[in-house]
């Protein structure tokens, strides 16, 4: 075990104070959570029903048009690309893949971190030492250069390669937190009683431990999803994704390649990045709100002022 301390923004004892049942109300009562959730909902709608937002489009959103490099107009809301494709239509249809990467890689990384973190805490001894060491190493290895190296050797990455690489590089931070919390739960009374009842280890972990850790798991998923959105966009922006895919990062790649900014088309150059930023913001807002919900001390002070000063 090393002395690197996990960020204090994830207090180990928070799960014990998790509001039971009132989770939905807690989300609705938190302005950051509402803002983040509405943004995310919008993106889910865009990803699920892109045609509703571009009703005039029939066929491929990447269809090549006659008027390349045009500024925003009534016909092309965000202008056209160097091949005359409509930027707005591309942007809407790209939501699906970008969201898929975020959710897929975020979920995968979270599952991996739960597996490694919780088993490290529960197995203890040598297994714990080994797994903790592995986590620490992955934590400090510079992941983005590693991803670039991997993507270079693996050839231009398709969707699966990108998601797998993101999972492999994104789990370590979560695993640290999972291990810390599982350690703190280890000697709680309710687990002791389950052990005395003679429950199997797997039952204890799945039925008793994981539900208690739910808020940390959700927070972790949001963090991992944020990381995946930003990293995937960065990778594709550098041209390490599939250049024919429909995603925001790929759009950025083409915009950069065809000199969107130099040609005076900021709408084309900036709008996919703005979409990435907004999706990232929605995850970050939800993440921070979850911190506040699970740790009341961090909530904005309104009525609790007198108590805080006493």
């Amino acid at each position: 075990m090393s002395a690197v301390v996990a960020g204090a923004s994830a207090p180990v004892s928070s799960a014990a104070r998790r509001p039971r049942g009132g989770l939905l109300r807690a989300i609705l009562g938190n302005r950051k959570a509402v803002a983040g959730a509405s943004l995310l909902l919008l993106f889910i709608l865009l990803a699920a029903f892109p045609h509703l937002f571009v009703p005039w489009l029939h066929g491929d959103p990447r269809a090549i048009g006659d008027v390349p490099l045009e500024g925003p107009s009534g016909k092309h809301w965000l202008g056209t690309t160097g091949l005359g494709q409509d930027v707005y239509a591309e942007l809407i249809y790209s939501t699906r893949e970008s969201l898929l990467i975020a959710v897929g890689a975020g979920a995968g990384a979270t599952i991996l971190s739960v597996l490694i973190g919780v088993s490290a805490a529960y197995l203890g001894g040598l297994a714990d030492d080994g797994l903790s060491m592995l986590t620490d190493i992955f934590l400090v290895l510079p992941t983005f250069p590693l991803i670039i190296v991997l993507a270079t050797y693996a050839g231009k990455g398709n969707l699966t390669v990108i998601i797998i690489v993101l999972i492999l590089t994104g789990w370590s931070y979560g695993a640290r937190q999972m291990r810390a919390q599982a350690m703190s739960l280890r000697n709680r009374d309710f687990l002791e009683s389950a052990r005395v009842r003679g429950e199997r280890r797997s039952y204890i972990i799945v039925v008793e431990v994981l539900p208690t850790m739910l808020s940390l798991i959700v927070a972790n998923f949001l963090g991992a999803a944020l990381y995946s959105v930003l990293t995937a966009a960065g990778l594709q922006f550098l041209g390490l994704g599939d250049p024919n895919s429909l995603s925001w990062g790929t759009m950025l790649y083409w915009a950069q390649n065809q000199g969107a900014l130099v040609n005076g088309l900021p709408a084309w150059a900036l709008s996919p990045g703005l979409a990435v930023a907004l999706l990232g913001v929605s995850f970050a807002l939800l993440n921070y709100a979850f911190d506040e919900i699970s740790n009341p001390a961090l909530r904005p002070v309104r009525r609790r002022r007198a108590k805080a000063n006493s």
Partner: protein, 332 residues
């Protein structure tokens, strides 16, 4: 003391892991480096003799006829002794060490200064925001910096370029490290040019990196302020400023310091994108170029160097924690 020894052990182990990854990734990936090299050379139009190819491959530490373990040991030896071979990319034949030596000062200057600045600024703002809980600053700080911390580096870079560097009257240059007409030297004109070219990339790193540290510092501060010793200090009538920095701030700072080392990898990844957007000839841009031209020796050395940089920072932060936190010293 055991603490420090353990940290040094971790340092060595991680470095070894990075080097091992570096060795095995190219060998486990589909398509051999040999083939990639041959493609690369024939693309340039020149015909490569088998001898030439073998020489380059040997420089790269790759010899298909040799035992893998033997190769591995030799590779480790050459990595540790900084025998990193020659570039096989766009600057063919130039020693990797020389290429890196040219780019290193620029990245150290740009990224080093802006990262440390972002960390210091973030910690300070976070301390103040956490101290004046529910005040004006605390009302604005969290929402604003949640947003900035989620912005992609390259997007901020593009935004700054389109705001300041492109259009009818560009205020600041958008690429390279100094005006190409100037010759490097220790004079006012050159230094001014370097600073001017550094402002936008540095601002990009600052804007995106500062948010995370503000938020963690604020949250640490809020948690620390609830401690008994802070209440005790208040009761004793110790001046507020002293409580803020000497009592609460000092303790809240410790996790932030460890967090600094952890997040450095993330900053470095952002730097690659920032240097790429601004065509800034530092290590990040070189990394990108090495990728495009499949320059394995350069890529290998750069990855090792980046890992080393992060590890050294982690180690420095560990030492700092050791000095600042008596608990780390006694616990061992």
């Amino acid at each position: 003391m055991r603490y420090l020894i353990r940290r040094l052990g971790f340092f060595a182990l991680t470095l070894w892991a990075a080097m091992t990854l570096n060795f095995f990734i190219p060998r486990m990936m589909p398509g051999s480096p040999e083939q990639a090299l041959r493609d690369r050379f024939s693309k340039g139009g020149s015909v490569v003799t088998p001898e030439q190819l073998r020489t380059v491959l040997a420089e790269f530490g790759f010899d298909p006829g040799k035992n893998l373990m033997l190769q591995y040991v030799e590779y480790l030896k050459s990595m540790v002794t900084a025998h990193w071979g020659v570039s096989i990319g766009s600057s063919l034949g130039v020693p990797v060490t020389q290429l890196i030596g040219d780019a290193l000062p620029w990245t150290l200057g740009l990224v080093g200064i802006s990262t440390v600045l972002a960390f210091a600024l973030g910690t300070l703002i976070g301390t103040i925001a956490g101290w004046r809980r529910g005040g004006l600053i605390d009302g604005i700080v969290p929402p604003v910096f949640i947003v900035t911390s989620a912005l992609p580096y390259f997007w901020v870079a593009l935004l700054l370029i389109s705001l300041f560097a492109i259009g009818n009257n560009p205020v600041l240059p958008n690429d390279f490290n100094y005006d190409q007409g100037l010759s490097p030297g220790f004079n006012g004109e050159f230094i001014g040019s370097v600073i001017k070219h550094g402002i936008l990339p540095a601002a990009t790193i600052l804007i995106t990196a500062v948010g995370g540290w503000i938020l963690t510092m604020r949250n640490n501060m809020v948690t620390t302020l609830a401690e008994d010793y802070v209440r005790m200090a208040r009761a004793k009538g110790i001046p507020n400023r002293k409580i803020m920095f000497g009592y609460a701030g000092r303790n809240a700072f410790l996790p932030n310091l460890s967090g600094f080392a952890m997040s450095l990898g993330f900053v470095i990844s952002g730097t690659i994108l920032v240097e790429y957007v601004f065509n800034y000839p530092g290590l990040g841009y070189m990394f990108y170029n090495a990728t495009v031209s499949t320059d394995y020796p350069l890529l290998q050395a750069l990855f090792l160097l980046v890992t080393l940089a992060v590890l050294i920072c982690v180690l420095l932060c560990d030492f700092a924690v050791f000095l600042l936190d008596p608990r780390a010293r006694t616990k061992g």
